[in-house]
């Protein structure tokens, strides 16, 4: 092999990771809310790619279907139904912005420190080949996790009714 397959996967992971984070940063820095939404799409699609690399192909497809196809479209609807006649600068006052960024940065540093110092169970290196995940997910979803599954269903129903009741015009 000229290029080892592992290196290709690693490079793809880094590229997708950088794109995901860039999308998040762009979301914050964009002046227009619509551009923020497009940056959000970039993040979501990149994260779906990361899922594929992590062997979660089913979840990646669901991520695109639900996040990009439904949630982002919902947010875009929200944007279009609330036209802002005056384009306000969207970032909060400098003090709040700086302190917010500092808190987030501090959180990141602490998390990375924890990740670096924890003694993770060192399993043997995993083989590259991925198994299909759909059957395993389905089986566990309806056995081990059937109670959370039912609760999630009820949550969706409640959210749907709640959203209709709140947004309805009398």
């Amino acid at each position: 092999m000229l290029i080892p397959e592992g290196a290709l996967i690693a490079v793809t992971f880094y590229v997708l990771g950088v794109l995901a984070i860039a999308g998040g940063v762009g979301l914050i820095l964009a002046r227009r809310i619509f551009h923020s939404a497009l940056f959000l799409v970039l993040t979501l699609v990149s994260v779906a790619g990361v899922f594929v690399i992590l062997g979660a192909d089913f979840l990646a497809a669901v991520q695109v279907l639900v996040y990009v196809g439904a949630i982002t479209v919902l947010l875009l609807f929200g944007i279009m139904l609330t036209p802002q006649t005056v384009q306000l600068p969207d970032i909060a006052s400098p003090g709040q912005a700086i302190s917010g960024a500092l808190v987030a940065a501090a959180l990141f540093v602490v998390t990375v420190a924890v990740v670096a110092t924890t003694a993770w169970p060192r399993a043997a290196p995993l083989p590259l080949a991925d198994q299909p995940t759909t059957n395993t997910i389905a089986f566990n979803l309806f056995n081990t996790y059937v109670l959370p599954f039912e609760i999630a269903s009820i949550l969706l129903l409640v959210a749907m009714i709640g959203a209709i009741v709140i947004a309805r015009e009398e």
Binding site: I21, G24, I28, L54, A116, A163, A167
Partner: protein, 111 residues
């Protein structure tokens, strides 16, 4: 050249966790600094994505949980969908009442 062993997986556990933490932090910075309520919702979605990356990384690297991490990522997704639906409904109602969706100006309950 006959294939001997399958090539090893090159991404370590820590890589995924750091990416998840970075996404979470970026989303948090956005949620704390933006004023547009919809932008805050979007930033929260980025945070949730960071959580999902973390879950899926654990599912990949810690054996013996039978993809529990991926299933929990699916629950996160469900909750995100519910949250976005209710969030947008609330924002639209606020806009209807006050003609703005800036969180600084929706301060009726401030004492």
């Amino acid at each position: 050249m006959p294939s001997e062993l399958p090539p090893l997986y090159p991404i370590g556990l820590q890589h995924g966790l750091v990416l998840g933490a970075a996404l979470f932090a970026v989303g948090m910075a956005g949620a704390l600094t933006k004023r547009n309520a919809i932008a805050i919702l979007m930033a929260i979605e980025v945070m949730l994505n960071g959580v999902m990356v973390t879950f899926v990384t654990f599912a990949r690297h810690i054996p013996g949980i039978d993809l529990g991490g991926q299933i929990f990522a699916m629950f996160v997704l469900t909750v995100a969908a519910a949250e976005a639906a209710v969030g947008v409904a609330i924002i639209i109602t606020v806009y209807r009442l006050r003609r703005t969706i800036s969180v600084d100006q929706a301060d009726t309950l401030r004492g």
